[in-house]
């Protein structure tokens, strides 16, 4: 009994012999008692193994979504809200950025305009002085008429133009008012801010809209996640 015979016998018991091998094996089994005995012994082993009781699984091995790291299914519209929220948030911060940039630009423009026409003094002192004219003008209607007329427009560009156009009154006005307003630097600063913020690049209505969209989007996303998670359970 060689190894090849053992393999053939084993395959014979499993019905895995080719037809030609099968015919040969069957005729050999009839004529060779030793081979037949070997076959029976192997068949008994095989039968014993196949009769081994099948054990029931001690528990169900079904998977939970947590086990496989699956998240609850979100509504199809969910990404729309996500992108809307992201876009609104970015636009909001962008609008803040661009507004402060335009404010800076405007204040520089004002300072440059006065500095150029005045031909002396440092830009900052002019930047402070120039808008300061507005405060007394508003508070005191009795202030000199030409100065009041020129200062009245709040737009920096207009102001710059006027500053260029008429040098004399602008230089007079600060000298008059500077003495008075110089005692209250904080009120001057506040006034100067008002003067430039009057024309933001992005209007505050849009900014409010961006904030509302971002907040609403975020709230709806939280709600969708909550509902999905509840349904999922």
């Amino acid at each position: 009994m060689n190894r090849r015979d053992i393999e053939l016998l084993s395959a014979y018991l499993d019905g895995e012999l080719k037809p030609s091998e099968l015919a040969k094996m069957e005729s050999r089994l009839k004529s060779d008692p030793e081979l037949e005995s070997e076959m029976k012994s192997m068949r008994a082993t095989r039968t014993l193994l196949s009769k081994l009781p099948s054990r029931q699984a001690p528990r169900n091995f079904t998977l939970t979504r947590k086990m496989v790291g699956q998240n609850p299914r979100l509504p199809r519209i969910y990404p729309v809200f996500r992108w809307a929220t992201i876009a609104a948030t970015l636009l909001f911060f962008f609008s803040i950025g661009i507004n402060s940039f335009s404010t800076q630009m405007a204040s520089q423009q004002v300072a440059f305009g006065i500095g150029g026409s005045g031909g002396g003094g440092d830009a900052e002192s002019f930047a402070e002085q120039a808008p300061a004219m507005e405060a007394p003008a508003a508070e005191e209607p009795a202030a000199p008429a030409p100065a009041e007329e020129l200062v009245a427009p709040t737009e920096p560009e207009t102001y710059a133009d006027s500053a260029n156009g008429v040098e004399q009154p602008t230089e007079i006005a600060p000298t008059d008012d500077a003495a008075r307003t110089g005692e209250e630097p904080s009120s001057k600063t506040a006034e100067s801010e008002n003067a430039v913020e009057a024309s933001p690049f992005v209007s505050s209505m849009w900014q409010i809209a961006f904030v509302i969209i971002a907040l609403m989007g975020a709230l709806l996303m939280i709600l969708m996640r909550y509902i999905s998670a509840r349904r999922w359970k």
């Binding site: 895995e16 699984a57 079904t62 998977l63």
Partner: protein, 214 residues
């Protein structure tokens, strides 16, 4: 064997759609497959590992990795594919066990040595006689399985205990069909030799003394 494979093919009609659903991430479809195959998977693990708790852990790991890699299933025998995954899970578990040895699978003598004679089976049960006898046969077979090289044991468990055909075993173990044939034949010879030591436990019609000429 032929009848079994035919019935598998009939089931596979329904199985195919479940597999497709599972491949698109449907966990419920996959769980239906789990419920269908969990006993087979657990039994393969149990026979390879010889320990129920470890087999349960390996089965659970196998199903988790089966779900994660189900997209890589490209047709053929799903059972064979599952068997490959559970076999790998068992090998991993056995490697872990080798690194951190725990309780031995067999009872120990007072000297702390493992018993490997049939005597250890005698006092292992308190169940009724018939059950005890069946359990002892099972223990004997498990003992012999545990003594087989891992490659032989895996092939034997799949072919003789799970009833997979050679092609399914070959795809599960990823070795050529000829190797399966040869491993199975040699495993059967070794198994028979081992079971001779348990002759008194075996059924009367199981005559091992016949044809021991190899």
């Amino acid at each position: 064997m032929i009848n079994e494979s035919r019935s598998d093919k009939i089931n596979s009609m329904n199985e195919q759609s479940l597999i497709q659903d599972a491949q698109s991430g449907n966990l419920d479809a996959f769980n239906t497959l789990v419920l269908h195959y969990q006993d087979s998977v657990f039994n393969v693990a149990l026979r390879i590992m010889g320990d129920g708790d470890m087999a349960a852990d390996a089965s659970q790991d196998a199903f988790i990795s089966a779900f994660k890699s189900i997209k890589s299933f490209r047709g053929g025998s799903f059972k064979g594919w599952l068997m490959r995954i559970v076999t790998n899970a068992c090998y991993d578990e056995l490697r872990r066990k080798k690194r951190r040895p725990t309780t031995p699978l067999e009872p120990e003598t007072d000297d702390g040595e493992e018993m490997d004679s049939p005597r250890w089976l005698a006092d292992s049960n308190m169940t009724p006689d018939q059950q005890a006898e069946a359990d002892e046969v099972e223990h004997a077979i498990q003992h012999c399985l545990d003594n087989l090289p891992l490659d032989f044991k895996t092939v034997m468990v799949m072919a003789d205990i799970q009833g997979l055909d050679y092609a399914e075993v070959a795809s599960a173990v990823r070795v050529p069909l000829g190797t399966i044939k040869s491993r199975l034949a040699r495993a059967r010879l070794r198994m028979r030799e081992c079971l001779q030591g348990f002759a008194e436990l075996l059924p009367a019609n199981y005559r091992l003394e016949d044809g021991i000429t190899a």
